[in-house]
């Protein structure tokens, strides 16, 4: 062969190789894409709703399960005493209107927050409304011992029942607002709730497993707090964690987040009062 002929053959061969390589690269990309798709489907399927109870040590589980050892029992017993104790100018107790809490409060905590008088209302707020409007008392205040004792007592009446909140259009609008907040990046760390608790749930942050953030045990006795605390306190904790200014207690934003989280935990069994590290 002459040199130009050789050149032509080489060129043709090179073109074929190039075509082959392009096809091969495209094919492998397609395969990789399919692999990613199927794995994310598998991931989505394996992400069943999980209570952070499952992530606790055997010792902490025992603390929660045994009411003789669960420190939240003190709040529960205080709440039980408050329930029947007449107080305020009208000398009314919770029981004066609601009777036996074991009957009247069964399932109540599993359905809060809800729309009351066209306002999104949490269980803690409803207790304050009863105290100020019906009993004529002054506000106990969020995270006060009285508020936590009563909410713990009321919530414990729903222990073992599935979470189910109203999904009327008005409630739906509040849940949607909560979903927006859940997905919104905030703070100096520029993180959204979803980035940890949806996308990275099950992975680790420091030494601890990131939970799915289902509010299935509130009010909780948190060992870190050495006290019982509300879901709003926990939400404010995370906001401080990502270095943002936390929303105030009873703010629309916290209540909407609470509504979204309860909707997201639909069907999960309420464990109140739960123990968490």
């Amino acid at each position: 062969m002459t040199t130009p002929q050789l050149q032509q053959v080489c060129l043709q061969w090179f073109k074929k190789l190039k075509q082959y390589l392009i096809v091969k690269i495209l094919l492998s990309l397609l395969l990789a894409y399919i692999a990613i798709l199927t794995s994310s489907v598998v991931q989505a399927q394996s992400k069943a709703k999980q209570s952070s109870y499952d992530l606790m040590s055997a010792e902490n589980k025992a603390l929660q399960d045994n009411l003789d050892m669960n420190p939240a029992a003190f709040w529960l017993l205080d709440g039980q005493a408050l329930w029947t104790q007449p107080s305020g100018p009208k000398s009314l107790s919770c029981a004066s209107c609601h009777g036996d809490a074991e009957r009247s409060m069964k399932g109540v905590a599993a359905s809060f927050p809800k729309i009351r008088s066209r306002r999104l209302t949490t269980l803690e707020e409803q207790i304050e409304i009863c105290r100020t409007e019906r009993q004529g008392l002054v506000r106990a205040g969020h995270e006060s011992k009285v508020s936590l004792a009563l909410s713990t007592y009321v919530a414990s009446q729903s222990k073992g029942l599935p979470i189910h909140i109203d999904d009327s259009p008005a409630m739906r609008a509040q849940i949607d607002e909560g979903a927006k907040l859940f997905n919104k990046r905030i703070g100096q760390l520029n993180l959204s709730c979803a980035q940890c608790h949806d996308e990275r749930a099950g992975l680790k942050l420091g030494g601890s497993v990131i939970p799915q953030a289902h509010p299935s045990g509130y009010p909780i006795y948190r060992l870190e707090w050495q006290s019982v605390g509300s879901l709003e306190r926990r939400l404010r904790n995370c906001m401080i964690g990502v270095r943002s200014e936390p929303f105030p207690y009873d703010s629309d934003e916290l209540k909407q987040l609470e509504a979204f989280l309860m909707w997201r935990a639909e069907g999960m069994i309420l464990e109140s009062p739960a123990v968490r590290p």
Binding site: N66, D68, M69, P71, A73, F74, L223, Q226, S227
Partner: protein, 109 residues
């Protein structure tokens, strides 16, 4: 903290003679360390339980000293040998005239 508070005691009601029994006690108390400050910067005075004692049939079988490093609602777990039927008395004493007492009857068979 109030002068007294709630307590919870977990132990068997009945035991065989010579048997080792586990006793779990938990008491409601803030255990304010005395090192914390208010949002305005003022020091919150110390208010803790200082001692816990357990007597069995009148004689002391267990004692613990508590310090500012002990967390709120302290739980104490210990064991003893069931020697004879009698009353176990649990007593917590602390700052600001705090004192709580709980009793539990053990029958030895």
């Amino acid at each position: 903290m109030a002068n007294t508070s709630r307590t919870l005691v977990t132990m068997p009601r009945e035991a065989k003679k010579g048997e080792v029994i586990d006793i779990k006690v938990i008491v409601q108390h803030d255990m304010e360390s005395g090192f914390r400050r208010t949002e305005q910067g003022g020091l919150i005075p110390r208010d803790i339980i200082r001692s816990f004692t357990c007597t069995y049939g009148g004689s002391e079988i267990f004692r613990a000293e508590l310090h500012p490093g002990t967390g709120a609602n302290p739980m104490i777990v210990f064991s003893t040998i069931a020697t004879e039927s009698g009353t176990l008395e649990f007593k917590w004493v602390g700052d600001n005239d705090y004192s709580s007492v709980a009793t539990s009857v053990l029958t030895v068979v």
